[in-house]
């Protein structure tokens, strides 16, 4: 083969096939398995996969505690009820928290979209709205924690039933709340960078020294949606079950 021919072959983009054939070809190909996905996004996905296992182990240990205890599990629906002057409404604070987190997922997905359209103003506003809702979520969780603590719930005992309830509650919701808090910090950092126009001027990150671009908003979005996703499972298994 002449040099001209081989360089022409290298310039020719490899056709990416869809579906199962594409899967086999991508995974058996040279250099990289995840075509058309940047390393930053792929690594965020790998991190989220590891986080999936962490949260799953927490939820499975909660399942084990709840299935193996001979004492009745506390009546979750009544414990998390709140009254506004009238009869207590079951799980009302948890329902509000759920709706806030879903709303913040919606604003996040719009931020990603406007980021790719390089609409800085809308992206910043949507990112700040997302951060605000995340912060209010953590605030309500703090409220819920203090209510339970004043009711006498401790990681080792509680007045309502099986003593494992407290440790499962504080561990699972605490770890999730920590994820939300970290997410809020990063949302604010990225909102600041979008506001400054770092991703239009391709300013290099101080830590990675790589050129910034709007894909970071999508990567941030993956993390935020994951936090929402985990809450869907916690809501189902811990609060509703």
């Amino acid at each position: 083969m002449s040099p001209q021919k081989s360089s022409a072959a290298a310039a020719q983009p490899v056709e990416l096939k869809p579906g199962l054939i594409g899967l086999a070809e991508d995974w058996s190909s040279d250099q990289r398995a995840f075509k058309n996905v940047s390393w930053g996004k792929a690594m965020m996905w790998i991190f989220l996969l590891s986080d999936t296992f962490i949260f799953s182990v927490f939820l499975i240990s909660y399942m084990t505690a709840r299935m193996s205890t001979a004492v009745d599990w506390p009546p979750v629906s009544e414990i998390f009820a709140l009254s506004f002057g009238g009869d207590p409404i079951p799980l009302v604070l948890i329902a509000i928290m759920t709706f806030i987190l879903i709303t913040s997922s919606g604003t996040m997905v719009l931020a990603v979209n406007y980021g790719y359209r390089k609409d800085r103003k809308k992206t910043v506003i949507l990112l700040l709205l997302t951060a605000l809702m995340g912060a209010s979520f953590v605030g309500m969780q703090a409220l819920e924690w203090s209510k339970l603590i004043s009711d006498g719930v401790r990681p080792w005992e509680n007045p309502f039933g099986a003593s494992q309830f407290g440790s499962a509650f504080f561990m699972i919701t605490g770890f999730h709340g920590f994820h939300v808090s970290v997410g809020v910090v990063f949302l604010l950092l990225i909102a600041r960078k979008v506001w400054r126009g770092d991703y239009d001027t391709e300013k290099k990150g101080f830590f990675t020294s790589r050129k910034g671009n709007y894909e970071i908003v999508e990567t941030m979005g993956l993390y935020w949606h994951f936090v929402d996703l985990v809450w869907v499972f916690i809501f189902a298994f811990f609060y509703l079950w």
Binding site: D26, L48, I60, V112, F226, F235, A236
Partner: protein, 106 residues
């Protein structure tokens, strides 16, 4: 390449999924509010949970539009958790039984 500029999709689909998530969350809350019990309760909770999780992963996290190489790498490994859940369910039934036999009121 279709997504050379990253994941860009019409806003309509996001809005639709957003509304759907709201409605389905309302349904899950209704399961508790109307106080369903037993297998009805558990199957409804799981149904609404999987609907919500599925839409968040596929649309909001764009897995629907990713190549199979990525989506398989993310979605297949968690399936081993089913085995783990099975093992721990057997274990906890055994623990429960021994607790009843040794510490039970009877």
């Amino acid at each position: 390449m279709a997504h050379a500029e990253g994941q860009q999709h019409p806003l309509g689909i996001y809005i639709k999924v957003w509304i759907l998530l709201f409605v389905v969350s309302g349904f899950s809350y209704a399961v508790d509010y109307f106080d369903f019990q037993g297998y009805t309760r558990w199957s409804l909770i799981l149904l609404f949970m999987f609907i919500k999780a599925g839409y968040i992963i596929s649309v909001f996290m764009h897995i629907k539009w990713e190549r199979w190489a990525l989506s398989a790498a993310i979605l297949v490994p968690p399936s081993v958790l089913l085995v783990f859940i099975g093992i721990m369910a057997i274990e906890s039934n055994y623990t429960f039984l021994t607790r009843i036999l040794n510490f039970g009121p009877g």
